[in-house]
Subunit: 742 residues, 2 copies
C-alpha cells in the first residue's frame, strides 16, 4: 500500500487525544497503581564507588515495625545472575552482587507496610565493606596503573574500527585540514516520571505495572528470569511520563519487586527516588572525541578521521558513536577508531539518539571550523557534500533524502544569510548564528502487530502494544485509523501497552514507534475497510471499488449509509482487522535527516549565553501530526541545549560519588534556557518505504541542536567551546584563555 | 470444521483455571474496585407498592456531611426515560418516576464521600406520597375491580396463543385424560455477588465496572443513554459472582452511578444492598398453570392443553412458558393460552431457563399423573412419546436428540426400577422416586468474535468478550484452545469481558456461552495453527498437512521443533487468529435435553422431606469439561430444590411489601437441603451443529429438578403438591387434606 496522496486527517495539527487526562490529572501512571494489601519497597545501595560487601546483617531490619521481607545476597534469589555481557552473553554479576562497582549498586531490599517503614528498615541494615580504589574518569581509567574496575582490566574489548578508502591518501590530497578534540558531558535521563514497578503474583502468574517504553521487553525479561511462559507474565504500561531510553530494558528494581511480592504473597510497589535515578538507571556517557577532516578548496571532503574514547560505566554495554562520521557527508575516505573503558559509575543506557549528539558535537563543530578555514558559508559547505547513497551501508541508495532541502529551506526560513551578515562580535554583548546537520540511523520495521476494530455505530478501537511515552503516539495512531476508515478522531478509542490484551511490538525508542506501529495500524484499518466494503457491496449492490467512507458513513454514489445499516455488520457487531508490520524494502537505506539553526547572544563580561532563536528543518518524511511534530522538534532542541550548555553529572573523583544527584544541583534546561523563538520546517520528500511516508523524528530532533548552538557561539565570539558544557564558568574560562572578554 | 473425534484435553475433568484466585480471595470483583477520590452512592426507594410522589425535598440531604450530589425527579436527568415497553418500544417510565408502582422503585440517589454518609443523606430526604391502592397477587389483579397498576388496565396485551392440530378432537380420541392446576412461587435470583457498578468519566468517555453477564449489552445501553459512540463507553466485567439472568440487562443503578459521576466529576461506586436486590433486580415470577393431557391406552399422547396466568410485576416484560408443552413430547394436537397481568411488585428478569421450570413443574407432574392413571411406568410413558422433529419449529429435525438415551441410561444408572419397587408408602416415614424430563430451547449462535494469540515460547492467550459467571467458561475456552493448538492448559492465559479490549459477544445466558463463544475460539486457534504451519512448512520443508502440534511443540515426523525455532514466527513474535461465530445450520433445531431422577424420604408426622439422591442424565452434546459439567448439573438440581421446596418471595397483601427480603427469611437451599447423593450421566449424541459438538447445559440442569422431586413426593405419599413450595407447612397441610399423616 502506497502512502496516502491527499490525506484529510493525517498531517493536521491535532491536539493530543490523551491531552485532557494528562493535563487534568486523571491519567493513571504506574505510580498511581494502588492495590489492596500492597507493600512498599526500598533498596539499600552501596555508598562506595568500588567495594566488596563482606557481610550484610539484616537481622535488625527484619524486626522493624511493618517489615514483611528483606532480601540480600544472603538469600538464594539474591544470588541470581544479572548483568549480561553483550559479547559473551554470559552474566557478569548477580542481583545483589558482593562486589559493588559503583555508587548506587544494589545491596539489599525491604518490603514493608509503608514506604517510611521500608526506608527505616533499609537504614537499619548493617553492611561491612572492604572499600577498594576506584576510578571514575575515562581518561584516568585507561591508564595502565589505574584502579581496576574488573580484574581482567578496564578495557572490555579491542577498539571498534571502521575504515573505507584510503584516509592517509585523502588527507594528502586535501587543500585544507582541520582537527579538534572534544569532550561531552555525562547526561542523565531524569524523565518527569520516576522509575518503578508494581508486582503481583496470582499463583504462578505474575502481573507487573511498569514505567517502561516496552512492555513486551519487560515481559520477556521477567519470563526468562522467573522461568514462566510468556502467557503467564502480564506487563502493563499505564500512562508514561517520559523515558528517553532509560526505560527500554528490564530494571533490577522490577525483578526485586517481583521477588518481594513472591516472598510476601502480596503486591509490592517499588519506586526509585529521584536521587537513586541519578545513580543507576542509565545515562548518556561522556565521550572524548577527536575529529580530523580534510577538504579540497571547493569544499569537497577528501578524508575524515574519527577517534573516540567512551565509557559505559561499570558494566559492559553496547556503544559506538561514529555513524554520522561515516554517513552524513559524501566522503570516500573515512576511518574511525573508538575505545571503551570501564569506570566505577552507573551503567549507560540508550539516551535519545544514543551516541549521535556526541558525534555531532564533534563532527559538526569541526565542519564549522573547516568552513571558516575554507572561507565558505557553512551551509554551502554542507550542501557540497550531500550524499545520495548510504556509504555506511554498502552504498545502497537512500529511500529518500531531504538533507539538501533541509539546508536550503531551513537557511531561507531562518534568514541565515541576513542573520550571518548582522552577526556582531565587538563589544561586551555579541551575537552569532550557527548551523549543524545530522542524520538518524534507524527507521523501524517488524515485528509489530496492531488490531483495529470497527463498531456498527461508526466508532472504532485501536489495540496496539506500543506505549505513548508522551510523544503523541496515541494521537498519531488515531489519525492513521481515522484517515483510513473515514471515522471522526473523537470516535476512536485506543488500548495500548498491555501484554495481556495487546500484541507484540518492540519497545518505543529509536524514533521508530510511528514507523513500526503506524504501518500495521493502517493495514489493520484497511483490512477492516475491505471486510466492511464486501458486506456493503453485497447489500447495496454497488461494487466495493465504488464505495468510500466519510464521517463514519459509507458513501455509495449519492447515498450515505450508516454503517449499522449494513445488516451483515450489524449481525456480527464488530469487524476486526489484524495488521502485521511488513519488512522495509531490502534494497534501500531509510534515514531521517535534520538541519538546525541557532542564533545566540553572549555577554562576554558575565559569560551568560542566551539562545535567542532556533529553527529545525527536518526530513522525517511525512509530518504525521503537525502539532506533535513541532513539539518533538522544540523538545529536542531544548534537550540539546541541556546536553551542550546546562547539564552534567559531576563525579567527585576522590569519593567516586555523584555530587549533583538531584534536580536542584543537576541543571536541566528550564523555560528560561529555551530559545525565545522557535520555528520548524518539515521537509517531506514523499518517502515510500512504508505505507505512511514517515521516517521517524524523535531522535533527529535533538541530534544537531547543541552543535548548532556551539557554532553560533563561535560565530559570536570567535572562541570554540570544544568541551561541554557551555556553562557560564566554562565560557568565562574559554574567553579568558583567548583574552576576549569584550 | 467438524467436532474433534478423539480430543485429549476437551472432555476431561479439569479444575477451573481461575479456581485459585476465586477460592483464595485474590480475584477482583466489581465490589473490589476502588478508585482514587471515589464517591459512594445510595438510592432512596419507595416504601409503598403504589404511590404518587408529590414532592421530593432534598435540601436537608444536600447539606449533610460528605454529600456531593443528590438527584431526583427534580433534576432534568432524573426525568430521562427508562423502562421500554417490549411491544411499542416506547418508554413507559422515567429514571425517577413520580409514580412508583412497586416497593423499591427509585425516588432519589445520593453520592457522598463514604457509604455511611450516603445512607444518612438518603434518610434525610423528605418525600410526600399519595398512596394508592395496590395489588400484588396475579389472581387478584386480573379481576375487573382490582386496583389498576396502569391506567389502561392490568392486562398489557391479549393472551399469547398457540395451537396445532385439533385439540378438542385429540381429547375426544383419548382413552385417558388428566388435568391439574399448579402454582409456582416467585423465586429471587440472589446471586452471591450483589448488583453494582463503578462509573468514571474522563472527558466525554465513560468507563464502568459492572456486575454483568454481558459487558457489550451494558456498553450499548449506556451509549444509547448518554448518546456516546460505542468506542467511548468502556464496560469492564471483572470476576463475576453469579447472575442467573438478573445481570443480563443495564441496571438503573448503573445509569444512576454514571449520572452521579458526571455530576460530581468523580468516580462513583453504587452497590445495592442484599435487601434492595430482593426488591428490584428481577425475579422468576409466579405462575398459575393448568395442564390437561389426553392419551391412548398405550400412552400415545393425543392432546395437550396448556393455560397459564403469569405476571412480570409492575412493568411490561417478555415472558411465556409453554415451550416444553409444545415441543418436549410428540403430540399432534397442542393448544396453549397464556395471560399476563401487572401487579405492584418488582419487575421480572430472566432467571435460569426463564419460564421453563414453571412449565416443567406443571407438565411433568401432569405426565406423572397420566402415567399413574395409565398404569404405566413414567419412564416408559415418556419413551413412548419422544419426538424426532421439533413440532414447535415447523417440524424441522433436531440436530440430535438424546432424550430417549437420557431416559434409558438415566433409569439404568439410577436403578429406577429397583428403587420404584422398593418405594415405601406405609408408616410415618415413606420413600418414593420420581422422574421428570425437560428440554431447553436455545443453542447459541452469532454474533461472537474471539481472538487467539500464540507466542514463540508455545504459550497462548485467549481474548473473549464473554464473562465467566462462575460456570467455568474460562476453563472450557482454555481447553478448546489447548486442544486445537497442542499447548498445555497452564500455558494459556485469558482475557475476558472488557469492551475496550475484547470483542463483541451476546451476554452470557441461555446456556449459550460455550456454544456461542467456543466455536469462534476454536476457529481462531485453527487460524493460528494454519499460519504457524505455513511458516513451519516452509522452514522445515515438510507439507503443512504432515505437521502436528503437541506439548507446545511442532511435530514433523520424528522431529519435535520448538515453536520459537520457526524463524518467521520468532521474527513476528505473535500469531493472531480471529474467529467469528458462524450461523447454526438453518435446517435443524438444536435443543439440549434433560432427564432427572429423584428419591425422597418424607416424614409424614413432621412434614419434613429429604431429597436422598438425584441423578441427572443430560444430552447437552459433548461434555466439554466433565468436572464443570457435573458442577452445573448438581448446582441446577439444588436450585431446582429451592424452586420447588424451599424458596418463595412472600408478599404482604395488605401493605404490598416483600416481608422476607433478606437471606435469613428467604430460604435458599443450603448444603443440608441438597441431596446426600448425586450422580450425573452425560449423554453425547455426537452433535455436529457446531465445531465443538456441545449444545449447552446451564439451564437444562435445573429445568426438571423440582418436578422430579415433586413426582417422588407423590410416589412416596400418594399426595400431589401442585402448589409450590413443598415446604414443611405445605406438606403437612396437603397430607392433612388427604388425611394421610402416617
Amino acid at each position: 500500500m502506497k502512502p496516502w496522496e491527499n490525506p484529510t486527517v493525517v498531517g493536521k495539527p491535532l491536539p493530543r487525544v490523551d491531552g485532557n487526562e494528562r493535563a487534568g490529572g486523571t491519567a493513571r501512571y504506574t505510580m498511581d497503581v494502588r492495590l489492596p494489601r500492597m507493600l512498599h519497597a526500598a533498596i539499600l545501595r552501596s555508598p562506595h564507588a568500588n567495594a566488596i560487601v563482606k557481610k550484610v546483617d539484616t537481622s535488625e531490619a527484619e524486626k522493624m515495625p511493618g517489615v514483611r521481607a528483606v532480601i540480600s545476597m544472603n538469600d538464594p534469589e539474591g544470588k541470581a545472575p544479572w548483568a549480561i555481557h553483550p559479547g559473551t552473553r554470559k552474566p557478569v554479576s548477580q542481583i545483589f552482587d558482593p562486589h559493588c562497582r559503583y555508587q548506587g549498586e544494589e545491596i539489599a531490599a525491604v518490603a514493608a507496610e509503608t514506604q517510611q517503614q521500608a526506608w527505616d528498615a533499609v537504614r537499619a541494615i548493617r553492611v561491612e565493606y572492604e572499600v577498594l580504589p576506584h576510578v571514575v574518569d575515562p581518561e584516568e581509567a585507561i591508564k595502565p596503573d589505574a584502579p581496576k574496575v574488573w580484574e581482567e582490566g578496564n578495557q572490555p574489548w579491542p577498539p571498534a574500527k571502521y575504515s573505507r578508502g584510503d584516509v592517509d591518501k585523502g588527507f594528502a590530497e586535501a587543500d585544507v585540514v582541520v582537527e579538534h578534540t572534544f569532550r561531552t558531558i555525562c547526561q542523565i535521563h531524569t524523565p518527569t516520571e520516576l522509575h518503578g514497578s508494581v508486582a503481583r503474583w496470582r499463583g504462578n502468574r505474575l502481573q507487573v505495572w511498569d514505567t517502561t517504553q516496552g512492555v513486551f521487553a519487560i515481559q520477556r525479561g521477567l519470563a526468562e528470569w522467573f522461568k514462566l511462559p510468556l502467557a503467564d507474565v502480564r506487563v502493563i504500561g499505564p500512562y508514561m511520563g517520559g523515558g528517553f531510553g532509560s526505560k527500554l530494558e528490564l530494571g533490577k528494581y522490577t525483578v526485586i519487586a517481583a521477588m518481594l511480592a513472591r516472598r510476601t504473597k502480596r503486591p509490592v510497589k517499588l519506586f526509585l527516588t529521584r536521587e537513586e535515578s541519578f545513580l543507576c538507571v542509565g545515562n548518556r556517557p561522556p565521550h572524548i572525541l577527536t575529529v580530523k577532516i580534510g577538504a579540497k578548496k571547493d569544499g569537497t571532503l577528501t578524508a575524515i578521521d574519527y577517534r573516540g574514547l567512551g565509557t559505559f560505566g561499570a558494566y559492559p554495554n553496547w556503544t559506538t558513536t561514529d555513524y554520522q562520521a561515516r554517513d552524513l557527508y559524501k566522503c570516500p575516505n573515512v576511518r574511525s577508531e573508538e575505545r571503551q573503558v570501564y569506570v566505577n559509575t552507573g551503567t549507560a543506557r540508550p539516551f535519545r539518539a544514543p551516541g549521535f549528539p556526541q558525534c555531532n558535537w564533534a563532527l559538526e563543530q569541526t565542519m564549522d571550523a573547516l568552513a571558516e578555514k575554507l572561507g565558505m558559508d557553512p551551509v554551502e559547505l554542507r550542501l557540497r557534500n550531500v550524499p545520495t547513497v548510504s556509504q555506511a551501508e554498502g552504498n545502497k541508495p537512500y529511500s529518500t533524502t531531504g538533507l539538501a532541502e533541509c539546508l536550503r529551506r531551513g537557511a531561507e526560513e531562518f534568514g541565515w544569510k541576513e542573520a550571518r551578515a548582522r552577526a556582531k562580535s565587538d563589544g561586551p554583548v555579541v551575537r552569532g548564528v550557527g548551523v549543524a546537520a545530522g542524520l538518524w540511523g534507524y527507521a523501524g520495521g517488524p515485528p509489530s502487530t496492531v488490531i483495529v476494530k470497527l463498531y456498527p455505530d461508526g466508532s472504532a478501537n485501536i489495540n496496539m502494544g506500543a506505549a505513548d511515552l508522551g510523544t503523541g503516539t496515541k494521537t498519531v495512531m488515531t489519525m492513521i485509523v481515522a484517515e483510513e476508515l473515514g471515522v471522526p478522531v473523537e470516535n476512536i478509542s485506543i488500548e495500548w501497552a498491555d501484554t495481556g490484551t495487546t500484541q507484540y511490538t518492540e519497545p518505543s525508542g529509536g524514533s521508530k514507534t510511528v514507523v513500526s506501529d503506524g504501518p500495521p495500524a493502517r493495514d489493520a484499518a484497511a483490512e477492516v475497510r475491505k471486510q466492511l466494503f464486501e458486506m456493503a457491496s453485497e447489500q447495496l449492490k454497488v461494487p466495493a471499488s465504488e464505495l468510500a467512507l466519510k464521517d463514519g458513513k459509507i458513501i455509495a454514489g449519492d447515498r450515505q449509509v450508516a454503517m449499522g445499516e449494513i445488516r451483515a455488520f450489524a449481525e456480527q457487531q464488530v469487524i476486526v482487522g489484524v495488521g502485521t508490520r511488513k519488512p522495509n524494502p531490502p534494497d534501500q537505506v531509510i534515514h531521517p535527516f535534520a538541519v538546525q539553526f541557532a542564533e545566540v547572544e553572549v555577554n562576554k563580561r558575565t559569560g551568560e549565553m542566551k539562545v535567542l532563536r532556533m529553527l529545525g528543518a527536518h526530513d522525517s518524511g511525512r509530518a504525521m501530526n503537525l502539532l506533535t511534530y513541532r513539539n518533538q522538534v522544540f523538545g529536542g532542541m531544548v534537550m540539546g541545549i541541556g546536553f551542550g550548555a546546562t547539564e552534567r553529572r559531576i563525579m567527585d573523583a576522590s569519593s567516586g560519588r555523584v555530587i549533583n544527584a538531584n534536580w536542584h544541583d543537576y541543571k536541566l534546561p528550564t523555560a528560561l534556557d529555551a530559545p525565545a523563538e522557535v520555528a520548524c520546517v518539515p521537509v517531506d520528500p514523499k518517502d515510500e518505504s512504508n505505507n505512511l511516508g514517515a521516517k521517524g523524528l524523535g531522535e533527529p530532533a535533538t541530534i544537531p541542536s547543541a552543535s548548532a548552538v556551539a557554532n553560533a557561539f563561535y560565530n559570536a565570539t570567535g572562541v570554540r567551546i570544544t568541551d561541554a558544557p557551555m556553562s557560564t564558568s566554562n565560557i568565562v574560562a574559554a574567553l579568558n584563555a583567548k583574552g576576549n572578554r569584550g
